[in-house]
Homo-oligomer: 199 residues x 2
DNA sequence: ACCTGAACACCGTTCAAGT
DNA sequence: ACCTGAACACCGTTCAAGT
């Protein structure tokens, strides 16, 4: 039988005091990650949340589980956003709109896109489930745009995520503003879109 | 008067024993970086080179100076390669050929492209001088291709380096092989090249 | 079931003593 | 001018004791 890796995913505790600490840790973690990136001090996060370091480790046995829990909601929004645009917008418009949102979410804080890129193909990683869901979302939008003949047919979903991750990494490392990010994504889209004949 | 930041650059010692250690440290560093990325253990590098940790710090006061010294030669090759292709090849071919080489050099080891992207716009960083030279090389090739009408005129050199760095980052994080890298760069080029009219 | 914080481990960095 | 390695500092991680 093949080994089925079971990734550690943080569970929100049932007891009231545990749940309070769990929530406070997530708030502190999101703030710390936003300011110092994914390698922010765990000691500081625990202190900011008003708990001892052992409590942090009890709820989040590894840094990756804390990152996963801190980003889960945002990425869930991204997945449901994909269904939304697929219903409301034309295929290419839907895809590019979703790509813009994906790049923003992937670069929520410094280091996140690296963790997500890793988790995409590594089962047994806390963020893998969410990454697989995003992969499906992106692949669906891509396929629709390709069926409509608006995106080059030879582009794979993996390549799409390579482009998205690369754009997100550039955004996080250059601390690019809204305009530069928009422009950069535009360049990427030019590379994958099928150019319609001029007038 | 404006502050002129003077970046620390490692100097090859004049005394024979110092030079031996300096060289041994560079060899050990290149091996360690290739295997463990830019955050490889400095203790291990010193041990591998057969010197005490203090000797490493004497020659390379910061990790950034060691990275700079370990990558200087390779990036010099890249800069002279730019002059080479500018003389030998047609503008767009020269640019794309150089882009391929740049992506490979930028992803020599995990973490390098992040350091270079940082150094590009941060004077006072050891790698800044080499990054500025690369920036000039790339900008020259880009300008020539734009004059020939083969690359979109509105692309800036900074955007070109964003695309190159992004591609290098994807390569280093996905440990992509030669074919995937080639394909990925092709997608980027499609986005910046001016499409010639079909037959 | 959950919390605390001392204790341990690891590694980067400095510096006094040495050649 | 260069080398050594003990000492210090910092931080991640564990775990025995407690509620």
């Amino acid at each position: 039988m093949a080994e089925t890796p079971v990734p550690q995913i943080a569970q929100r505790p049932k007891r009231a005091d545990g749940r309070r600490n769990y929530d406070a840790l997530l708030v502190a973690a999101r703030t710390a990650f936003a300011e110092h990136g994914s390698d922010a001090s765990l000691e500081d996060i625990a202190h900011e949340a008003g708990v001892a370091i052992g409590t942090l480790y009890r709820h989040f046995p590894t840094r990756a589980t804390l990152v996963e829990a801190a980003t889960r909601d945002g990425l869930e929004v991204l997945v449901s956003h994909a269904r939304d645009v697929a219903d409301r917008l034309a295929p290419l418009t839907a895809l590019t709109d979703w790509m813009r949102h994906a790049v923003v979410h992937f670069s929520t804080f410094r280091g996140l896109v690296g963790i997500l890129a890793q988790s995409m193909y590594d089962e047994g990683t806390p963020s893998h489930a969410m990454c697989a869901a995003m992969h499906t979302s992106g692949a669906d939008l891509l396929r629709a745009a390709q069926r409509a003949g608006e995106v080059r047919a030879d582009l794979t979903a993996d390549e799409l995520f390579g482009l998205l991750s690369g754009a997100a990494w550039v955004r996080e490392t250059t601390r690019a503003g809204k305009d530069e990010t928009e422009r950069f994504i535009e360049l990427v889209i030019e590379g994958i879109a099928v150019r319609t004949a001029g007038p």
